[in-house]
Amino acid sequence: MGAPASLELCGLELSHPVINGSGTFDAIAARGVFGDALLSSFPFSAYVSKTITPEQRAGNPPPRLWETPSGLINSIGLPNRGLDGFLEGDLPKLAELPVPLIVSVMATSHGEFARLVEGVSPRAEVAALELNISCPNVESGLVVGESPEEAAALLGLLRPLTEKPLIVKLTPNAHPAPVALAVEAGGADAVSLINTLRSTAVAPGGAGPWLGGERGGLSGPAVRAVALSQVAEVADAVSIPVIGMGGIARGGHALDFIRAGATAVAVGTESFRDPGAGARVARELAAEVDAEGLESAAAARGTFGQRGPDRPENLSQNP
């Protein structure tokens, strides 16, 4: 296991390439459950907070989960304490984590987004911000993450407000590469993807949607092949680092995402099945890297795209 696993991700020093997906690991709750072992063996090399919004939110009515073949639909509805509650209540506790802290923020207007960035970024405990743009801009009615123009406008506004790295989390429900290019041009330091795929389930017996929030987002192994394709497309398009995620459950999957062009990867739903999944995936990844005789995971980066010129004539969406 000689491969050095540490890396630099837009200025953050990470001890290995595996972080968590926003909203899939609550470090504060986990510390209550697992005690100080959480600090001494923290599973991720950076910690991404659950997305916070300007005001506090209770989240969606239950049921909030539905299990699908090899996947999970969640309709959580972003419960959080709001900006002030986060800064006062959560941030001091998250500052105790032994890894860099990335705070995920989301709002539905430019003004509110700016308020979040101005509130969060001056805090020394915060290493970087992730902009969750899978949200409508109430002013335009468009989903920011589905529109390169919207995304560019948002970056134009937020970039001057902070010198900390800005990571933009892309939505998978529209082609992500044009949006990735737009936020790169707007000064984003990295992009992360995929967020969950829009999906739903019928209540057993047929009485309408199962989920209290009616629609939800699909994650887990079921989406891995879609995520891999989107990560490869985005990594081909941009020069900034890509954080790849979507159904990663083992080290081999992480290596696949790195091959497709990711600099780091995130583990989401797999943590639900195994609270130590982040560390396990990092270990398995290091072992795979060794077994393949690579110098480091980074040496595999992007090899997916280098196949040579014999591409078949491709009718686009038609496989």
Binding site: P69, P79, W210, P275
Partner: protein, 279 residues
């Protein structure tokens, strides 16, 4: 509460026996601590999780029904009733097979005096598969010398297991089909008990189907009897990560049942009829 080791661990199945339509199975947890009564574990089998329909995918929540330190670790007992792919697979486990165990998780029961200064005794009210956490709780109460009554209700003979977990004879039974004890609901038995002195001198602990829990909750709130409910909600993770197990609070908003429960004071929740739970 007892803290859980970080990460899931592979434990061997040491026993799986029939019990009145349910299965009681035990695993040997070499590394885990002894759970507190009312805590639960997330379980998944090592092999054969998943299946033709790609489910079960996530682990499933199970109340610890019994625990005993023994050579090589702690024996954990669980009671299971096959209602879907996960419970079916667990019910089919064979000795020597292995399970992924995460836990112990959640907040367990409080002693009667912690709930009400005058509560010297305990009344346990169990329904169906919900008798599981009451079994381990009863032993702890017994060990502490707390006077305890046990009321258990079942729907029918086919779903009437878990009695074996209560190694005592003083159980009052109710069954909807009348195959054992009082014909009717276990809450009928509770209502009678609460007519007497017990109302002020005992705390009630209930676990069972949502409708039963809601009836117990109403009875106890009405009579101002201290009461804890061991509740269920669909759980994705069991340790506060997914926010899936939301239960509406009387004060508004939601709590995560896995970290603020599964045992909760009856007056804290808006209802025990949590959408998505029960079967």
């Amino acid at each position: 509460m007892t803290e859980a080791p970080l990460g899931r661990r592979l434990c061997e199945l040491t026993r799986n026996v029939e019990s009145g339509g349910y299965r009681i199975f035990s695993v040997l947890d070499a590394d885990g601590p002894e759970p507190a009564p009312g805590q639960f574990c997330m379980l998944a089998t090592e092999r054969g999780w998943g299946g033709e329909d790609g489910r079960p995918y996530l682990a499933r929540a199970f109340s610890v029904a019994g625990a005993e330190g023994q050579g090589g670790g702690v024996r954990l007992d669980f009671l299971v009733h096959g209602v879907g792919p996960g419970t079916d697979r667990l019910a089919s486990l064979e000795q020597g097979e292995r399970l992924w165990v995460t836990g112990p998780l959640g907040i367990g029961f409080s002693g009667p005096r912690e709930l009400a200064p005058d509560a010297a005794g305990a009344i346990l009210v169990g329904g169906g598969i919900g008798v599981a956490p009451l079994a381990i709780w009863r032993r702890a109460l017994l060990a502490a010398g707390t006077p305890t009554r046990v009321l258990l209700g079942y729907r029918d003979r086919e779903r009437s297991g878990g009695l074996d977990l209560f190694d005592c004879s003083e159980i009052r039974l109710a069954s909807e089909d009348g195959h054992a004890g009082h014909r009717g609901y276990v809450t009928d038995l509770l209502a009678v008990l609460l007519e007497g002195d017990d109302a002020s001198s005992a705390a009630v602990y209930a676990c069972g189907p949502p409708a039963m829990l809601e009836a117990v909750r109403a009875l106890c709130l009405e009579r101002e009897v201290a009461c804890e409910l061991a509740m269920e909600a669909p759980m994705g993770c069991g340790f506060g990560a997914c926010f899936g197990c939301a239960v509406p609070l009387a004060a508004g908003g939601y709590m995560r049942l896995c970290v603020e429960g599964p045992v909760v004071r009856a007056d804290r929740v808006e209802t025990a009829l949590v959408a998505g739970s029960g079967h």
